[in-house]
Each structure stands twice: as structure tokens, then as C-alpha cells.
């Protein structure tokens, strides 16, 4: 029991790092993903192609590789070469990667809204922007909640990848303790922490889904 209290400190500190990466990624990647989805569906061929290529690149290579690239290789890239500290590098990689996944979820959600909705809005005099904001996107939200929930839970677990930049997230903190104290107890506690975080997310999304259940399509 004493041991439990003793490891709680470092594990909670690790959880703090994990939560920061998680929250910042979500906060930045969701709007970026939405912007990318809108560009992907725009009438601008160049934007569609570029976003398509971007999504392919980000989903087609491992997130860990992207993170290593941004941290170690980006400084040597001509013109844009900058050296980022570990935390910003990790956030940048996560945001760029997750924005691609979110963009695909948003795109599918937007495309699942029928043509009749656009026409109804148009004959009522609504502009394209008004139609998107007031009619299409609100309907999209209900439809993307299940995949968005999946992706968000994956993100919680993916945060553990930042150990490659030697940052002390929850998993790395636990591993350090395991190696130091020769007991697997820290792993068990870390697992419990991850489970609590995903449980809270699951619960949050369930509440959202319930809220949107007031109407059927």
C-alpha cells in the first residue's frame, strides 16, 4: 500500500503529460481536420488533390516515423528547417497526423448528408456558408460521433508513442518504475489510469450520442 502511494506521484506526473498531449492534439486537430475536409470537398481541384495527397501521406506512414522525422530530420530540411523542442515536436506530429484521420471522418460525415438538404437550403435563400454552418455540419456531428469516439480513444493510447522523444508520459513513467523496482505493479496502475481515461471518454461520447438521439434522420 505504501508502495502504491510512493509510485502515485511519478505516475500522476506522467498522466499529466499524457493528458496534455491528448488535449492539445484534440483541440488543434479537430478544427484543422474540419478545414481539410471542407477543402477536400470544395470546388477547387488543386485543394482537393493536395488534401488527398496529404491524407494519404499521413495515414500511409507510421505516426512514430512522423514524430521522429519532425524532431530529428526537420532541422536539416532546407528552407523550412527548424529545430523544435521535444514537446512542440510531439504535438506537431500528433496534430498533423490526427487532422488527417479527422478530416476523413468529417468528409464521410458531410458526404452522408443528402443532396436534398442542400437544395432545400438553397431554395430558402441560404448561402453556401449558411447551409454548411446551419444545416449540414450540425447533421454531420450526429453521424460522426461513433467514429470520432473510436479515434479519440485511440489517441489516448497513441500518446504513449512520445516515449521515443524521451518524454515522461504515463507509460514511460511506469516503465521507469518497473525497471527500477523490479515489480510489475506500476504497469497495473498505469493500465488502470488508461482505463479510467477511456472510460470517461466513452461516457462523454455516450452522453453526446444520447443528446443527438432526440431526432432521427
Amino acid at each position: 500500500m505504501d508502495y502504491l502511494f510512493q509510485i502515485l506521484g511519478p505516475l500522476l506526473a506522467g498522466t499529466g503529460v499524457t493528458l496534455q498531449v491528448f488535449a492539445l492534439t484534440l483541440l488543434l486537430a479537430v478544427p484543422l481536420g474540419l478545414g481539410l475536409a471542407l477543402l477536400r470537398l470544395s470546388h477547387w481541384p488543386l485543394a482537393r488533390t493536395l488534401v488527398g495527397g496529404y491524407v494519404w501521406l499521413m495515414r500511409g506512414t507510421p505516426l512514430m516515423l512522423q514524430m521522429l522525422f519532425i524532431y530529428f530530420a526537420l532541422p536539416f530540411v532546407p528552407v523550412i528547417g527548424i529545430r523544435l523542442p521535444d514537446f512542440p515536436a510531439a504535438i506537431l506530429a500528433f496534430v498533423l497526423n490526427y487532422a488527417a484521420y479527422f478530416a476523413e471522418i468529417f468528409r464521410a460525415g458531410i458526404q452522408s448528408v443528402g443532396k436534398g438538404q442542400y437544395e432545400a437550403a438553397q431554395v430558402l435563400g441560404m448561402s453556401r456558408a449558411q447551409t454548411m454552418r446551419r444545416i449540414i455540419l450540425p447533421q454531420m456531428v450526429k453521424r460522426i460521433l461513433p467514429p470520432l469516439s473510436n479515434e479519440t480513444i485511440t489517441l489516448v493510447k497513441d500518446t504513449s508513442l512520445i516515449y521515443v522523444l524521451a518524454m515522461n508520459d504515463l507509460l514511460r513513467a511506469a516503465r521507469g518504475l518497473v525497471q527500477r523496482d523490479f515489480t510489475t505493479m506500476p504497469f497495473v496502475v498505469a493500465a488502470a489510469f488508461y482505463l479510467v481515461m477511456t472510460l470517461l471518454l466513452t461516457w462523454g461520447f455516450a452522453r453526446l450520442e444520447k443528446k443527438y438521439a432526440v431526432y432521427d434522420d
Partner: protein, 258 residues
């Protein structure tokens, strides 16, 4: 009666529209005066829906001219160049026309009342206090005030279509377009929708109604138009058109329908 020369509500001149190789409208012209109720009948694929959709900019025409209350939505120059009004302008012009679709196209995420007031709020910039009384009145008129806070998925087809009519009316249009408003309904539900439309006609709303309901065309329209193969084959007062059709194609169609 004061003799004022008023613009026709709607003028369509020589509309041409093709989808790929298929010429769907082959020179359709129609002038609609204020208060007229025009029924458009014709076989499937004759271009009735396309005609309506070209009037309110849901489709772009290839050649011709559309004027709403004197304002040009689209014109064609002598050398055949088709020119639309700029986007915002076109939107403003088309706002004078309401449209009711075969499949209602209500906004499922909004309640009945919200469906009615959405466009007046966002497009016209009215306040809730200004538009809600009108919306309630329209809902009473179509007999759905009790459903004002229900979501569309809870309504029957006939109720949905009546909400769609009220939603279009909430924008206070001068013309109402209907594209087969009862075709998606169970037969026992068409009556309530036709009643609302008839009431609107009695109030002298200018209406353009594509329909397979021959009795509605005959009893309510001031003029019936028969379309076939992308053109208006015959037009006239319903008694004339139904009683003494002149064209062989009209006769064949009516024989088949009645």
C-alpha cells in the same frame, strides 16, 4: 379596377437544358401572371422537374431567359452566351420563389418550428419575436400547430409535406413551386396536402404545380400545361385541355391517365 400594367410574376423564354447528350428541355416558354395557378402534367421523363428546377436555379440552363417579377435571373445574348446574375443577386431573386419537393427535404435536426424560422432568421435577419408569430400562424393554417416542437421524424408523410409548405411560406414568397408534392405519400394522405394547396390557391398565391393528380389540375389550376419530350405540347384552361385536347400526344396521355 385600377389598370396598372404589372410585370408578369415569372417569365421563362426558350429554355434549353441538356444532360450530356440528352436534351431534356427543348425550348420551353411560359409566362405566369400574378395569382395564376399553373398545373404541369406529362409523362415521366418529359422534363417537368427539370423545368421547375431551372426556374429557381437548382439547375443551370444552357440557353434561354428566366425573369422573376421583372428581374432577370438569367439571360442569353444574341450570340448564344448564357449569363446568370451574380451569385448573391441570383439568390435574392430566387428568394421570391418557394419550393416544395416530392420528398419534403425537411431539416431533420430541427423541430417543426425551427424548420420554419431557420431561413427567416439566417437569410432575412429577422428576430425570433418578428418571425415566430407568423410561423405559428402558418402552422395553424396547415393544421400542425400542435406539432410545432416535434422533430420531422415523428411526423407522417402528409404532415411532413404540410410543414414543408409552411416552411416555404415563412419566407413570404410571391410564387410557390411544387414538384409532385403528393407522389411520395400513401394515397390516404394526399388529401390533406392537396387541401392545403387548394387553400393557398384560394388566397391567390401564384403557383406552379407539377402533379400527377389530374383532379387537382382540373379543379384548381387556372391553366394546365402538358409537357412531353422536353417541350410544352399544349396549354390551356383545364376545361379545354381535359375536355377537348387538341394534340394527339395530349389525348393519348389523358386517355392513359383518366
Amino acid at each position: 379596377m385600377p389598370s396598372t400594367t404589372t410585370e408578369p410574376m415569372l417569365v421563362a423564354r426558350d429554355l434549353h437544358k441538356r444532360f450530356g447528350e440528352h436534351e431534356v428541355l427543348r425550348g420551353v416558354s411560359l409566362t405566369v401572371g400574378k395569382g395564376e395557378v399553373i398545373a404541369v402534367i406529362g409523362p415521366s421523363g418529359s422534363g417537368k422537374s427539370t423545368f421547375l428546377r431551372c426556374l429557381n436555379h437548382l439547375e443551370n440552363i444552357d440557353r434561354g431567359e428566366v425573369r422573376i417579377a421583372g428581374e432577370a435571373l438569367v439571360t442569353t445574348t444574341a450570340d448564344g452566351l448564357c449569363r446568370y446574375a451574380p451569385e448573391a443577386e441570383a439568390r435574392r431573386i430566387c428568394q421570391r420563389m418557394g419550393m416544395v419537393f416530392q420528398h419534403f427535404n425537411l431539416f431533420p435536426h430541427l423541430t417543426v418550428l425551427q424548420n420554419l424560422i431557420e431561413a427567416p432568421l439566417t437569410v432575412k435577419g429577422l428576430s425570433r419575436a418578428e418571425i415566430e408569430p407568423l410561423a405559428d400562424e402558418l402552422l395553424r393554417k396547415v393544421g400542425l400547430f400542435a406539432k410545432r416542437d416535434a422533430y420531422p421524424s415523428r411526423l407522417s408523410g402528409g404532415q411532413k409535406q404540410r410543414v414543408a409548405i409552411a416552411r416555404a411560406l415563412a419566407m413570404a414568397p410571391d410564387i410557390m413551386l411544387f414538384d409532385e408534392p403528393t407522389s411520395a405519400l400513401d394515397p390516404e394522405l394526399t388529401g390533406e396536402v392537396l387541401r392545403s394547396m387548394r387553400q393557398l390557391a384560394d388566397e391567390h398565391m401564384t403557383m406552379l404545380v407539377v402533379t400527377h393528380e389530374m383532379s387537382f389540375a382540373r379543379d384548381v389550376s387556372t391553366r394546365t400545361i402538358f409537357m412531353d419530350g422536353g417541350e410544352i405540347v399544349e396549354a390551356g384552361a383545364p376545361q379545354e385541355l381535359f375536355g377537348r385536347p387538341q394534340q394527339a400526344r395530349t389525348q393519348a396521355f389523358l386517355r392513359h391517365m383518366l
